[in-house]
């Protein structure tokens, strides 16, 4: 036995060293973010996590009185914000802040390619005698307007001002500025770091708040600051989780340690078990690291409950071994090993099923917990005996367990009838079980942030409806643009029908090469001598220089490309509408007020174009997770039943071992029905875990390998206490997902434990 102990110490030190040198711990929430199923949804989810949109803030300054927010203060704040490291751009939404030289440089030379999506009808109107006269009149007006300098540069390249045609639609923006509520002023801020780069975003948010307070104090302004955006949600969620991880880990470790000391009254036993648990956690971390390349903070938080599960095996071993003399201790452990292994396997099934529930982060938890359970089982069987010394024989003093089993043995029939009645009551209520349909309800801890987000967005000048858009997907930018251009036609038709107020695509910023070619060819074919003469006449009529503007030379140039736009200051205007990956390009067409059904219906016959609602997507995912969780639950239960059947080769015995867990779980379901609590896939996941853990109690109680049912029940009580404490500690977390697990599993294991002596009849009591 001595060599096992030595090898264990060496292995433990090696494990710790490996973790120190290789483990990569992450706390960003990206790994636990919801990912979609289709290529588009995955790409979109990635974009939401790390794209241009994710690194954008909306900052809102509001006046605490009825007075308007001073534009001088806004300007100063805006210019100071730009000096914060990591902020690459700040602007006031709704303002036309396109650097004009960039616009002129970018588009004037491409005028003949970008002037319209319907070149024939556009030119039909423009190239008439009257159309040309009105264009000359417009040109003169513009040359005398505040934009004269830019117009002059454009007119020298593009006398017909074709390059401005598409931009006419944006004119109304200035009117919007006048209509806004002066008590608020929003700013948009673009950061260099991705929204989920918590460390940098946290610093930026702190600096923004400090800067605002300083400026407001210096200027004597009574303003308040609010901000929203992916980085705000990310930092808040990360802080929430980090707090949960720390709190849950510390409190559950302390409580389990105290519980252990209270049960065994032996510091040596505590030390051995602690060593085993360190080895269990280290192995779990290392395997998770090897499989995923990193270990997530949430895995550690949920995984901390693992100690409460894994410690069950040494506890069973200790209770049984310490009840006998020193020389019979190894035999005592060997005797209960088959029960432990079966119990461990059923728990493992629960965690593996959890991995298949669809929630991305749970896969890591499954690997982490699965490894922990296996390692704990093996260490209990092969290493723990090496630590068992010659301490005096003792038995845990869990009086409540002794009294409860005594009470149950005496009044078992009455209690069984009571359980059956409760089951009947539960059955009659189970149909009232309510499912959560809106995924937003899964994160009530973010309600305040969501309300803040809604409030800030309501102050935006834009009429764009957040989270709902037309999603165009193509294998490359050209194919996506061509599809988008067909979609614009449908959207125009919907506008005419009154089913859509407005839409914002990539036109006039970018057109497909195909459309640019058509535009160019159409223009060239239409510019004949008659039109050139008419144009000169129109110029002369309005006193414009025929010499400088009379030549309608529109030479062929390269098509304007996305790369060219992304290389210019115009990038800001479309970067949040285009997602480019190696094999797929997505274009988002933003929508103003619209009728969702009409939009959904409009694109049914257009492959690669779909109406997209983020909220619908999340709710669909919730529904899919729920279905998967139900399937996982069924598969998990089936595997557990099969394992038990394989072991007992008797249906009745299998049913007996399983029933405390199933009935406990059923009571919990009935409890949710009675209280009207809506149930999500997370509840089902917890339900499965509760069953997987509770089955252990049924197995231990049914098998009673020590031959002493009171001792077996004492061991079960010790293990139930650690499991319920470990899971119960999750209730102090602020993350509602962890609270749900706490509620379901802790309650499940307690009820399952209490039901064992009521349901399973023992012959050798």
């Amino acid at each position: 036995m001595e060599w096992r102990r030595r090898w264990f110490y060496i292995a433990l030190i090696s494990l710790i060293a490996s973790i120190i040198f290789t483990a990569n711990f992450k706390t960003d929430i990206s790994a636990f973010f919801i990912a979609g199923d289709s290529a588009e949804e995955i790409l979109l989810a990635n974009e939401m996590q790390s794209g241009a949109l994710s690194s954008r803030y909306i900052i809102s300054i509001s006046s605490e009185s009825e007075a308007a927010v001073s534009s001088a203060f806004t300007s100063l704040f805006k210019s100071e914000l730009a000096n914060i490291e990591g902020i690459i751009d700040v602007w006031i939404p709704g303002k036309n802040t396109v650097p004009v030289p960039a616009l002129q440089k970018l588009y004037a030379s491409h005028a003949s390619q970008i002037y319209s999506l319907e070149p024939e009808s556009y030119l039909n109107k423009l190239l008439t005698e009257k159309g040309l006269q009105s264009r000359a009149e417009m040109l003169k007006k513009l040359l005398l307007s505040p934009q004269a300098s830019m117009i002059k540069k454009i007119a020298l390249q593009d006398p017909l001002l074709l390059s401005l045609a598409g931009f006419e639609s944006v004119r109304s923006q200035f009117k919007d500025v006048i209509k806004k509520d002066q008590r608020f002023q929003n700013l948009i801020l673009q950061t260099e770091a991705a929204g989920l780069d918590i460390k940098r975003q946290k610093r930026i948010q702190k600096q923004i708040k400090e800067l605002f307070s300083d400026l407001a104090a210096k200027q004597g302004c009574k303003y308040s600051l609010a901000m929203t955006g992916v980085p705000v949600f990310a930092v808040h969620t990360q802080q929430l989780m980090q707090g949960d991880i720390t709190r849950v880990s510390i409190i559950s470790s302390i409580l389990i340690t105290l519980l252990f000391i209270w049960i065994f009254r032996s510091y040596k036993a505590l030390f051995w078990t602690a060593l085993l648990m360190v080895a269990v956690v280290c192995s779990a971390v290392l395997v998770t690291q090897l499989v995923f390349g990193y270990v997530h903070g949430i895995t550690l938080a949920v995984g901390s409950t693992l100690i409460g599960i894994c410690i069950d095996y040494p506890i069973h071993a200790l209770v049984h071994s310490q009840a006998v003399t020193a020389e019979r201790r190894i035999d005592a452990i060997s005797r209960i090993w088959p029960s432990m292994m079966l119990g461990g396997l059923t728990t493992l099934v629960g965690y593996v099923a959890l991995g298949f529930s669809g929630y991305p982060g749970f896969q890591q938890i499954a690997v982490y917990a699965g490894t922990g359970i296996l390692v704990s089982l093996l260490l209990t069987r092969y290493i723990l005996p090496a630590f068992l010394g010659n301490e005096k024989t003792s038995r845990p003093k869990l009086v409540f367990a002794e009294r409860w089993i005594g009470f149950c043995l005496r009044y078992r029939l009455l209690l069984a009838i009571f359980v059956v009645l409760l089951l009947g009551l539960a059955w009659s209520n189970i149909s009232k079980l309510r499912w959560i349909e809106d995924m937003q309800q899964l994160t009530p801890e973010l309600d305040q942030l969501k309300e803040n987000d809604r409030m800030i967005r309501s102050r935006m000048l834009s009429s764009i409806e957040p989270g709902r858009f037309v999603l165009v997907s193509g294998i490359d930018i050209e194919s996506a643009l061509q599809k988008a251009e067909r979609a614009y036609q449908k959207l125009d038709a919907l506008k005419v029908k009154g089913e859509l107020n407005e839409f914002y695509g990539l036109y006039p910023w970018l057109l497909s090469a195909k459309q640019q070619k058509i535009n160019f060819q159409t223009l060239q074919s239409r510019l004949d001598d008659k039109i050139r003469t008419n144009w000169k006449t129109a110029l002369a009529e309005y006193g414009l220089s025929v010499k400088k503007l009379g030549q309608l030379d529109y030479p062929e140039t390269d098509f304007i490309s996305l790369a060219e736009i992304f290389d210019s200051p115009v990038k800001r205007f479309i970067e949040n509408q285009v997602v480019v990956s190696e094999h797929r390009v997505l274009i988002m067409i933003w929508l103003a007020k619209h009728q969702p059904e009409a939009l959904q219906h409009a694109f049914l016959d257009m492959p690669g174009v779909q109406y997209f609602s983020q909220r619908d997507l999340l709710n669909r995912m919730a529904s899919e997770y729920q279905q998967r969780a139900q399937i996982s639950l069924l598969i998990g239960l089936t595997v557990i039943v099969l394992l038990l059947l394989l072991r007992y080769r008797n249906l009745w015995v299998t049913f007996q071992a399983l029933s405390p867990a199933i009935i406990a779980a059923f009571f919990i379901l009935a409890g949710w029905s009675l209280t009207g609590q809506a149930v999500s896939f997370l509840h089902l996941v917890g339900f499965l875990l509760a069953v997987a853990i509770c089955v252990d109690y049924g197995i231990f109680y049914r098998e009673n390998r020590s031959g002493n049912i009171v001792l077996t029940y004492q061991a079960m009580a010790a293990s139930m206490l650690t499991s319920s404490v470990a899971f119960g500690c999750l209730a102090i977390a602020n993350t509602s997902a962890l609270q749900t697990l706490a509620q379901v599993v802790a309650l499940g294991v307690i009820v399952g434990f209490l039901l064992c002596p009521v349901i399973i009849h023992h012959t050798n009591e």
């Binding site: 534009s71 001088a72 300007s75 036309n96 007006k141 830019m150 004119r171 006048i178 220089s545």
Partner: protein, 217 residues
């Protein structure tokens, strides 16, 4: 999108400079330093000035002529063009306004939107802040026997890209009577000015014009 505040801003810059300089008392130049003159620039009441403007533009066959009134007041000014057709434009505090009733086009923007440096420079003019003005313009002041000439040459690159120089001239003991704006593309604007009225009785007119500019259209 072409109706951006940038161009609007540059255009309004020399409009603003013009307006500010219109109210300068030329006599001050003959006796005082530039600092003391600028310190006195801010008008204490509304001043109504008639202007005649001629633009020599490369793309027009004939020079363009326009006329109307400036209303200059303590924290801004309004240019109301009456000929060849009505247009109203104003600068008040940090805001720029433009309204073309014929085309039904309105603009409203922050001066900082176009260029912080330019705005600061013109704010400097309004506030008589010579240091700030000197940061953005090279200032040349010539005081001759009967006339004086003030030349502003932009230092700041964005402004210098479009604006070559502004020459303001007048006769001793008379207000500014001519402003010439030279653009880098060769175009030129000339404005001849004559003060018509001043006093608080013009406040109502200023308020009407500002209300027209700020209305929702």
């Amino acid at each position: 999108m072409y109706k951006t505040t940038n161009q609007f801003f540059v255009w309004s810059c020399y409009f603003l400079v013009s307006g500010v300089l219109i109210v300068m008392d030329s006599a001050a130049y003959a006796q005082a330093t530039l600092e003391s003159v600028l310190a006195r620039m801010k008008p204490q009441t509304v001043i109504k000035i008639h202007y005649r403007e001629t633009r020599f533009l490369e793309l027009l066959d004939q020079p363009w002529k326009g006329s109307g009134y400036f209303y200059v007041f303590p924290d801004g000014m309004i240019k109301e063009q009456w000929y060849p057709q009505r247009q109203v434009m104003a600068v008040k505090a940090n805001k720029l306004y433009y309204f073309d009733p014929f085309a039904d086009v309105r603009y409203q923007g922050e001066m900082e939107d176009a260029s912080g440096g330019q705005a600061i420079a013109f704010k400097g003019l309004m506030a008589g802040d010579v240091k700030l003005l000197q940061k953005y313009f090279q200032i040349e002041f010539q005081n001759q026997k009967k006339t004086w000439i003030l030349t502003l040459i932009p230092k700041q690159s964005e402004l210098a890209e479009q604006l070559s120089r502004i020459i303001i001239s007048g006769t001793v003991n008379q207000p500014v009577n001519k402003i010439e704006v030279f653009l880098t593309d060769g175009d030129q604007h000339v404005m001849e000015l004559k003060t018509e009225d001043q006093g608080n009785q013009l406040n109502t007119k200023v308020e009407q014009l500002l209300a027209e500019l700020q209305s929702k259209g």
